[in-house]
């Protein structure tokens, strides 16, 4: 099948956000060449590993690097920097995540890249930007989630003895938010190029990307002049709230039971009939609770009854029963739950298996995040071994055999 970005060539240099950007583009059909230093990209050192540590066994690396090609080409080496410019001549996009000024310090300046290829979309992703008072600061996932507001929004209001503990969500979200916004910037530059622009610079700072990824956080300050209060598993808000919405079910799993439709008599009535059919409606099936104002004033009690009700049922019963009554409730799943969910696995086929011929393992990846009817998202090739494509990448760039042999002998290894 053809991908939407067939024919687009991307050079990806660096970790974190550019790695996610490269993945988004590669999975839509772009040819993404990952340029790695001699020891490999940082992600190759991050666990979990398949059968022991090693650059070709990191599942973290695999999650972000299928569909890519790997060439060992470290721009700290002068010949490699020249080779990088030669590759950029034939590329559409450079994704530079090495940090402010790093490529420049090795002689790969923006001017040199533009001279080599005026149609190049030269993209830099830095922690804080190339200039400004914080330009030189070091970032990390947790540092960005703290400085950018996400950790200020998330946490607990009911952990005994630990009032209002902040929680910076895990999973690598700073890279995801910066990476997806960078991908949008790159695609907009491609669209501009089609509409008569040449190449251009795309500049993304991870800090900016996180500070604009907090939904109501900034509005609470700019419109209400109030700071947020964190709440366990529900929206932070400008005032403390008590309407809890995450409850533990009989099977030990939690469900998120949104109460936002409790003012809708059809939905509330459906819920109460359901509870009553199991003898768990408490006093909610009395006539008084049919009155919207009456029950709104007693919502803390309604929530207590819902909590007790959830505790008497398994999470799957709560999920399907609630959704059948048009209540948008869902279980709190983890990866294990999702891998066995029939809607995702069978109906939507959102997981993709790739075999690894060295270890013999077949590993399951997150599959299509979107379904494009003419140009489907596709996982085509397993993640590359370190330097697997060095020789062919250099040859494709028109670098002569001597040049190639020198570089690979010194700094790379042949697949």
């Amino acid at each position: 099948m053809t991908g939407a970005l067939d024919g687009v060539t991307v050079l990806e240099i660096g970790d974190g956000a550019v790695e996610f950007t490269g993945k988004l583009l590669a999975d839509l059909g772009a040819t993404v060449i990952k340029l790695e230093p001699h020891g490999g990209a940082r992600g190759r050192t991050v666990g979990p590993f398949l059968d022991g540590a090693g650059p070709d066994r990191s599942l973290w690396f695999w999650a972000y690097n299928a569909n890519k090609r790997s060439a060992v080409l470290d721009p700290r080496v002068p010949e490699a920097a020249d080779a990088l410019v030669a590759l950029a001549r034939r590329a559409d996009v450079v994704l530079d995540g090495l940090g402010p000024g790093t490529l420049e310090s090795h002689g790969v300046t923006a001017e040199r890249l533009r001279a080599a290829n005026p149609r190049l979309i030269h993209t830099t992703v830095t922690p804080f930007g190339a200039d400004g008072p914080w330009a030189g600061l070091q970032g990390s996932d947790l540092v960005h989630l703290a400085l950018g507001g996400t950790a200020a929004m998330s946490g607990y209001d009911d952990l005994p003895g630990r009032d209002s503990v902040p929680s910076a969500p895990s999973g690598g979200q700073a890279a995801h938010m910066a990476g997806v916004k960078t991908a949008i910037g790159v695609l907009l530059a491609l669209a501009a190029r089609h509409r008569g622009q040449g190449g251009q610079r795309v500049d993304v700072a991870v800090h900016d990307a996180i500070a604009t990824s907090n939904e109501w956080g900034v509005p609470f300050w700019t419109f209400q002049h109030k700071e947020v209060h964190r709440h366990t598993a529900r929206h932070a808000s400008s005032d403390p709230t008590t309407r809890r919405q995450m409850f533990r079910c009989r099977d030990g799993k939690y469900v998120v039971a949104l109460t936002l439709y409790m003012n809708d008599s059809m939905r509330f009535g459906g819920l109460v009939d359901w509870m009553a059919s199991l003898g768990l409606a408490a006093d909610l099936d009395g006539p008084a609770y049919r009155d919207v104002e009456y029950r709104t004033e007693r919502m803390d009690h309604v929530v207590e009854v819902i909590e007790h009700f959830c505790g008497e049922l398994d999470s799957a019963e709560v999920f399907h029963g609630a959704q059948a009554r048009r209540l948008p409730w869902a279980p709190v799943n983890d990866a294990w739950d999702l891998l066995s969910d029939p809607h995702l696995r069978e109906d939507r086929q959102v997981f993709a298996d790739l075999a690894d011929e060295v270890t013999g393992a077949t590993v399951t990846y997150a599959g299509a995040p979107y379904h494009l009817s003419a140009t489907p998202w596709e996982l085509r090739t397993r993640p590359p071994r370190l330097g697997e494509h060095t020789a062919e990448v250099l040859a494709d760039a028109g670098l002569g055999p001597v040049h190639t042999a020198q570089l690979t002998a010194q700094y790379g290894r042949l697949g």
Binding site: A152, S154, S170, Q224, A366
Partner: protein, 450 residues
Amino acid sequence: MSASALSGLRVVDFSWSVAGPTITTLLAAAGAEVIRVEWPEHPDPMRAVMWAVDAPQTPDSACFFNYVNPGKKAFAVNARNPRGRALLESLISSADLVVESFSAGVMERWGLGYGRLRELREDIIYLSLSGFGHSGRYTTYDTWGPTAQAFNGITALSGIPGAPPAGWGFSYMDLSAGYMSTVALLAALHHRDETGEGQYVDVAQVETGLSMGGSSFLAASVAGPGTRPDGPPGNRATWPGSATSGRGETGAPYNLYPTRGGGRFDHCAITVLDDAQWRAFVHTLGDPDWARTRRFGTAAARVANQDELDRRVAEWTLPQDKYAVMERLQDAGVPAGALQSFSEILERDPQLDHRGVFATAEHPLLGERRWETFPALLSATPLRFHPTWPSLGKDSEHVLRDLLSLGPREIASLLDADVVRAPERPGPDDDAETASLEAAAPAAVAEVPS
């Protein structure tokens, strides 16, 4: 004035709430003409929530609605009315992209499924964003942000070990579904630019988050029994009791540490990722004896003993201001960052200010406020914050007159028949009779919540 990336593109926008409008706001900032379709009898639910403390409470002054919808035109038309649908069909014939975020099946019921759209405009790109997707056994199930992120594993990634999940204090999946959808839409546009072929893009909100869990599926698919994590991973780089990273980074200390003041924002993130940073960290602390023990001699030892390490670090941070901790460590090359509140993000952060991330603009009903811009800076075709907001029906007459080329008689007839609404009717017979929606809104200043 420099060019825009998407100039000349027309988007018909049926989306509402948060995820869908996130897509189309971005398209508008990039220069597309976005026409928001909305019927006041079924308004966007965001028009009824979040009020400013010092502005009237009307559908056009709901704060978050305005925050996520700048730069769009507003066309108030009844899609359930056959004449309204005919107008929409001619508008779609002239459009490049159609975006909607209704529950599955709504557009089909209006006769505006992809098949019909393609008859109207063969190369149309139609993006449909729903909760669980347009096929499969949960098609009829609904999501809001908190539902989607509970279901798709994102909620479980947040929280302190040993406690229930803390989840997210906002609808992360509304934002990320919006951004991921934009990637799909712009990729489809690239394909159309190259080949002339349009397509249908089916996005399920829950599915857009599946690739945002790090290595979770890979690990789960090959894991042996007993390796399933029990509870949330915490603020550290690695899951409790293992070297498995939850953040693509490893090392210790790595946590949010309490700082002077003891308030809910008095914390500082400190993350030591390698040996050089550890040496710089220890030096900054004044080379204390405990840091020289074997228990903290290697990265692996520091990770293994991080309960004790975190207690030591917290003793050091507790008497200090969070920005002082950040500055001292950053001066030494150690990644550290204050847990910033939103007043600090808007009014103290010098870097966001330097990069102009939050624009200042005056809204007709809300006054001068700060507005988020899209943080990808394109040198030749910059995205722009357009200080206009889609008050109900604001551009209805413009759409009918200038985009659909209808004459005054036809326009008046559509308004009279209540197929289309406009805030003001400068028509010949009754311009005094039809009040503007804005003027009709209650003028009382909202009570300040206690």
